[in-house]
Assembly symmetry: C2
Homo-oligomer: 524 residues x 2
């Protein structure tokens, strides 16, 4: 158990803030891009030089946020070294880090900001600290160095806000374990692309790396290794805090009733024993939805999840349930008869999912589930968010789900664990999430989307170059005005520049095509 | 210019050697694989324990190689820490390194070895030091640790030799620059898979990173950056020496007359000026084969190449020459008429290639050229090696080339820069290099093959996980008995184990499928 102070979760309302960046001096050149493209961006050729010595971030006098705001103080420190890498390298950092950690949820809040760079100063205005973070990111991308190493920023006016409120990235830590440093690095890169949700597909069939305080045997027996291949409570807290400081929510997924093989190792009687004829075959299927103990277990687990993960969303999975094992089991068949489900196992899955969605609602959390749950049964708690993962028919599914009044997340066209030769970021970029048949009210129900990096063929050896810059394409589609970003050829040089910037920041982003960056990965 | 001592290239005949490994102790368990599979491998369950403290490598009394043999002394040092990582980590290395560097060519020499592991000792016999290196690699893969960390090796008899003498891997350092450390790391991993040729596609259209002593402007003007994105003479020597110590030859490729755009920047009048109507268009085509200065330049360059690269092979390229620019140029057309080539530009390319193949022969080097040279003209110096890169028709090409009596290298089915989702190593594994229509004499002319990692989409960010373990499939096909290695499903667990071993040795090898390794990449 952790000291009480670290276990307390403080929920803080988004800070209404408005802050100032002060910058110093003058002159002419270069107009370059920002990734993802701001909603409105006006740049002139008027160039202002920046002096690392005289540069500072200053909270505006009328700003609600002031020194002591941990999110922004930490962001100033980070962005100072991002903007002036030569200056900070080896010389220590200039700003003191605020060590007091407050667990605040990053709610679905306003990320809009205005940035005005003129001679001698830049003014960044935002309604929330999260908007300020997005503005700082854009600001950092506007600064450049000339051939002599001097820093410049052009006169610029940006009015910016995200197209979609939910811009997620899924990592799968069950098919392969991802060490903590790989997750933290991914969060860094996500912030650079203005992603705001880390969908942590933390457990699945192959392994259960989440170290539960309520059910320690789940990882003791279900992880690849009970000590090296697990996420301790403190690991999870580090991830959540690292994410929060970057304006990223952490949505955990505890996928059931399928995809739970690893759960069975540490939780006897949770899974359905499969039968061969009249006798158990020794293998196990999905969670057994016919016994009370299952629901008691799930309720305890979800209570812990609520306690550990402050976000208002919990992902409950519900995908790809194979019915063969249920069908083989005589107790399940008896239960089906008793419930009047006939031979329709989709009703059994719906019964189970409805129970755990209700539990989740009772815990004051909003459920996200995979599309299967909707496909099997259209009566679903109205505030449940549905996530589309099946590739071929996602437009029709968008129509149906929004027709039924549900909020929807699109992931199907962004399964970037699927790789192919060449510039496949263009496929991600071409996706039009609101291009389906339906009225405007339906289109508004698409709250965003997710890039998914499933783990069958991915671990720490190849995660970063597969993610970056390929995920950036979806990041721009989810943030920027579609009308202004239809042409991938136009986006290409801006993305190339952004990829070099990712390298400079230490992200192992693979090349888009032939060429080079001034700062290559891992030195020359 | 370098001090004279470092410029001297000593050519040493392969050492006739025979050496002893002495090992200590007893007991039972586990039989595991070696990658690539030895020609004959007999293992018993009799287990011998190994004590890092009491373990030593000892030259046999009747061995021609003795202490002072730099290749083997260095290999003992490397393999000691590979075999006993826990023992050597942090405690410094146990054996003194022989610092005297001799530039010896790794000739196409005998790589066979016999390894006999019995109680208390292991005997490794080989005809050359290169065979001893292969045997040490196999030996290192036989050692394993039990759950308590103790080291064991089972009683084992290996008789082994390569199926093909030429087992290459191509890196492209022109489309993206690869830093020296990435090349050295690749050489390490190549040795683990028993590759023996590093085909260095060092220059091409996009950049000319080779820093020539004769023509410094080639890289000054043709590299991505004249100081950061270049290979100095000392860099090249380090690569050659690092490779030699691992029994790997370095075959440089200076591809012409096409693929030379970057050459033109530092060598005026080398490339053909393209015309638009009657006037030069300002763009340039292939090397201009109609002027004497071209041949003088090529001769000087090839002389330098002979001086810098000790290997007996030089790759001269000759692929993908576009004739449009030649055709547009009035001087070239005049030359064609004078030579009686008519409108057949393949004759012009053949004329050029023949000239530089003859130059190469006069420098006492053997040419390797891409298949285009053969496709255009069947009269080619008989000892020239032809390399097949065109994918669809490689079997027919194998027939034709060997029918014409040429030695052949197969690369077409091993273009592993082409990626796809899933276990694409199985495609590489399924290749049967001698499965083409022809008599046995023809089959014998296939001297080996090459894995190619072209650089359009590859640089230091993603090179290693794309290479490993995917390249291992071809490594086994080129080393092992095809009859014993037809089944990829049988090979799979052995390759999985080998991939974990690569991670343990610090190679960023990507996963083959769901699972984990005891030693993950970059810590946990």
């Amino acid at each position: 158990f952790l000291p009480k102070a670290l276990r307390t979760l403080d929920y803080m309302a988004p800070v209404r803030s408005c802050l100032l960046l002060v910058v110093v001096s003058v002159w002419v050149q270069q107009v370059d891009g920002v990734w993802p493209l701001p909603q409105q961006l006006d740049q002139s050729a008027d160039r202002n030089s920046l002096s690392p010595q005289r540069f500072s971030f200053i909270y505006g006098r009328d700003s609600a946020a002031q020194t002591g705001c941990s999110v922004l103080d930490a962001a100033f420190k980070r962005y100072f070294s991002i903007i002036f890498p030569d200056f900070t390298k080896g010389s220590g950092l200039l700003m003191s880090e605020n060590k007091s950690i407050r667990y605040t949820s990053v709610s679905n809040s306003d990320e809009s900001y205005n940035l005005s760079v003129s001679e001698g100063q830049a003014v960044l205005r935002s309604v929330t600290v999260w908007g300020a973070l997005r503005g700082l990111e854009s600001f950092s991308q506007l600064v450049y160095q000339d051939d002599y190493g001097s820093y410049f920023i052009n006169k610029t006016e940006i009015v910016d806000f995200p197209r979609f409120a939910f811009r997620g990235l899924l990592l799968d830590t069950s098919r392969h374990y991802l060490p903590l440093h790989a997750i933290l690095k991914t969060l860094d890169a996500m912030a650079y692309s203005k992603f705001n949700v880390f969908h942590w597909h933390i457990v699945d069939d192959p392994s259960f790396p989440y170290q539960s305080r309520t059910f320690p045997d789940l990882s003791n027996k279900g992880a690849f290794h009970p000590f090296t291949h697990v996420y301790t409570q403190s690991d999870v807290m580090r991830v959540i805090e690292h994410a929060r400081m970057r304006g990223i929510r952490v949505v955990p997924e505890f996928d059931s009733p399928g995809h739970t093989l690893s759960w069975g190792k540490g939780q006897p009687n949770l899974l359905t024993p499969c039968y061969k004829g009249d006798v158990p075959s020794g293998s196990f299927g999905p969670v057994d939805p016919t016994v009370d103990t299952t629901y008691k277990f799930m309720e305890s687990l979800l209570k812990e999840v609520k306690f550990v993960f402050p976000d208002s969303y919990v992902h409950l999975g519900g995908d790809e349930v194979s019915f063969a094992c249920w069908q083989s089991n005589p107790n399940v068949r008896t239960f089906m008869e008793k419930m009047g489900f006939g031979k329709d196992f989709t009703k059994l899955e719906s019964f189970y999912m409805e129970s755990i969605m209700n539990m989740t609602a009772a815990l004051n959390r909003t459920s996200i589930v995979w599309q299967d749950v909707f496909d099997y049964r259209e009566r679903i708690p109205q505030d449940t968010v549905l996530e589309i993962w099946k590739g071929e028919t996602y437009q029709a599914e968008l129509s149906r789900m929004t027709q039924a009044g549900h909020r929807v997340l699109l992931s199907a066209p962004w399964y970037i664990n699927h790789i192919s030769y060449g510039q496949d970021w263009r496929n991600s970029y071409a996706v039009q999430p609101q291009n389906f048949s339906g009225v405007w009210k339906q289109k508004k129900l698409v709250i965003g989307g997710e890039v998914a990096m499933w783990g069958e063929y991915v671990d720490a050896t190849n995660l970063n170059p597969r993610l970056w810059p390929r995920a950036c394409a979806a990041a721009e589609r989810l943030w920027s005005d579609e009308e202004k970003t239809l042409d991938a050829d136009l986006a290409f040089p801006r993305l190339e520049k952004f990829r070099c910037e990712l390298l400079r920041r230490g992200i192992q982003a693979e090349p888009l095509f032939v060429g080079h960056c001034k700062h290559e990965y891992d030195g020359l």
